[in-house]
Symmetry: C2
Subunit: 518 residues, 2 copies
Amino acid sequence: MGILKKTACIFSLFFISYKGICQINSVKHPNIIVFLVDDMGWMDTSVPFYDSTMPLNNRYHTPNMQRLASEGVKFVNAYAQPVCTPSRSSMMSGMNSARTHITNWTAPNKGEDADEPDGEIAPLNWNKNGLNPDTTAKDMSHATPFPKLLRDAGYYTIQVGKAHWGATGTPAANPHNFGFMVNIAGHAGGNPQSYLSEQRYGNMPRKAQPQAVPDLEQYYNTGTFLTEALTREAIKAIEVPIKRKEFFYLNMCNYAVHTPIMADPRFVQKYYDEGLDSIEAKYASLIEGMDKSLGDIMDYLKQKGIDKNTIIIFMSDNGGLDQHQRGGPGNTHNYPLKSGKGSVYEGGIREPMIVKWAGVVQPNTVNKNPVIIEDFFPSILEMAGVQPHSIIQKMDGQSFVSYLKNTTLKEADRPLIFHYPNKWINISLSDEAKYGINYFTAMRYGNWKLIYRIRNQKFELYHISKDIREENDLVNENPAEVKKLAMLLGKTLKERNAQMPINRATGKPAPFPDEIIK
Amino acid sequence: MGILKKTACIFSLFFISYKGICQINSVKHPNIIVFLVDDMGWMDTSVPFYDSTMPLNNRYHTPNMQRLASEGVKFVNAYAQPVCTPSRSSMMSGMNSARTHITNWTAPNKGEDADEPDGEIAPLNWNKNGLNPDTTAKDMSHATPFPKLLRDAGYYTIQVGKAHWGATGTPAANPHNFGFMVNIAGHAGGNPQSYLSEQRYGNMPRKAQPQAVPDLEQYYNTGTFLTEALTREAIKAIEVPIKRKEFFYLNMCNYAVHTPIMADPRFVQKYYDEGLDSIEAKYASLIEGMDKSLGDIMDYLKQKGIDKNTIIIFMSDNGGLDQHQRGGPGNTHNYPLKSGKGSVYEGGIREPMIVKWAGVVQPNTVNKNPVIIEDFFPSILEMAGVQPHSIIQKMDGQSFVSYLKNTTLKEADRPLIFHYPNKWINISLSDEAKYGINYFTAMRYGNWKLIYRIRNQKFELYHISKDIREENDLVNENPAEVKKLAMLLGKTLKERNAQMPINRATGKPAPFPDEIIK
């Protein structure tokens, strides 16, 4: 009894309330959410990003993206790299992938090369382990990731879902090393072994592969689809800074809509009923599940009264899959864009991007300025009001915040580079040429796009603003433009210390595009 | 160019420095670290917790525990439950395991019963899924965990290593649900599938079991022993609140020294050289690796200048293993204590506990007041200066902070309950009796200890202060004490709504100890 009373007495001297501990000063910082979808194509939505509504816009149901677009601005010329790790590491570092030397997706195991072997071209010594946020390690591309800067500035930083910045056995495997305080399900794996709780998202005893999704044991055998589990965890995670009266950065990276293409049981029946090919019906259900995830988060922000002070940036990390594992004929899945994931054609690199920022962005607007994934780094820091001081990398990205604030502002032309000197998949040489896959580098500059096929050193030239499907190659009609762009592409690649693959026969690296111009 | 300049201009208006964001008020809160070891016995250290140095104290090398003890206070009558989940869930909830109905370790899969089947006694309907921090779920013991209270009060809360508060498919599997902002390697599993990075801590493709340790992909194939990987992650994790000028709570739960008993290659050779049994040499290396973990954290705190404002509480979750998988004869591994893990004899429940709190605790002192694992809940809150308001559970633990502040204070006698109405392992009935394992309940009260074997309703009585080895059963010599203690034990169990197992033959629950006293 005496003890209890003494305890109570001591307690009363010590107790404090939350508000006494941490005071937010008068400057109000926005919360920021990047909603990064995996492998989602430009047309995989009921929001039209093209000039008119296309058949695929009618196939997919994304009411929450529609809501987001009506409250924000659509960037209709937004770009990423053809595959995921290059895009994701560029976003984290602000560097273009030509500079990071992370030009292909990274395998989950250290030292393992995701590149397919090729008879003609030798293996490239690219940064196959990914992005190293640790300045001491020596075998990877180094960068100070922006979430680290946000965290050090007082932001509550959360990673949910796919990370895929690099391999196991290296710091790249761990989102904490990138500045995230909270990590849920982010690791070295680039796809989910399974979307199903009944399969423990892959973590089945003695069946698990490196792509088994970590951290979701709570949902095993609960019937919770992966997209839903991640969404619930994300909402729980942002509840914490809300309670602590801290502002947050949420990197919301659904594994959807990456393969394996599995039916999201909440949505798939409708697509079967519409008569879609069964793989395509499953794919559409993954899209709609992802859209619900966005909607649930938007609803939660509103319910908590912080929707007005929370920026949402919607993005995908590369184009929609058009190769193997999709249903129906190829070169249709991103129509009117050509090809898809893995390609330097628009189908592989053009992304659905929306930014909502209440009070700053004019609702329901369209912005035509070309932007690229490495622009996220300086843009997010500017939105947060955090300076990129003492970063160790040279940044290629430019902030797009000025376009958010001033819709009439037009960007000066600048080279957007898609450098992919790797072999993604084994296909025939004619399919390589047809689909723009394996050993390509490309550049968008203003209205133009130059494509350089490294294997045979051939150019293609498209007036991308008039010919989004890249059907009319103008390389013979406009040699002056080819020359101008090839010089700029070559110069930019060299400035970024880009790698070129080596020809097995000659032992020499392929020439840069400016070097074969007469 | 114009864009870049505009961007720079906008930046300058927005930038803030860290200190502007979050101000710590003038009240100084201590950082708190609980360093909870798994399965470590009372004698598994070179720090003597007994009256004199014993042979086992000479076997083990724990220089950092010695350092901690020299800077703090040794609690030489500290207790936990005979196995891990009961102890860990009591610590999280402040409830005794008789009240939580979490009286055995929890299997990693929801609904799976870790109890061994028994011919005589029916399965117990205990809370086999563990502790539910979520008040909405219905099939588990509910509690507001103290880390949640700390987090809501502004503490930066970190879980590293073993959690094991409950099963997959329930909120208990996820440390975030307990109030931890950061979780590294804590999940439903209660032991590490492997300590070796070369075996990916168990996450080997197609070989992983539910006990594969999550979140450490960064260390795969780096030669980093599990204990070292967890320690490095813990240090990285506490670097964050130090930078953010926040105070932190670290729940540092090494998987060591739980089975599988694997050699920590940094330390094992010395023990082989000393001629120890090979299993025991490996075990001793696990102990020393754990001790290095403690030392590394202490060094880091000192290096950062926060050692004086950081409380360290060292504890183990149950007694040292004395059964299968250890080397050498049984009933020796915790000598002079009897038996080990799983037992209600002292070898199963008495723990090495040290508290360091600079400026509050007198260095190099010994405290003889009996304390028990559920006392951690109110003690840690009191240390933090955080009120346990609006908690949903009835707390059994009492704060030991007053003993830290006043070394002469003597606790009023109170019942410390070790209720284990489950079947832990399959052993013979005579071994059950000999080792105090399977279907026991026990109570320490002042100098006395009453043991009640539920299976045959027999009592044992020991004067624990004079007979720590529990060799002289006084049940026949002192029936008055037996009666007094049996009445108190029965009353306390009933107050806590404790469960009793059901006899298969009669269909009736075993009588409470007070019910068989004439």
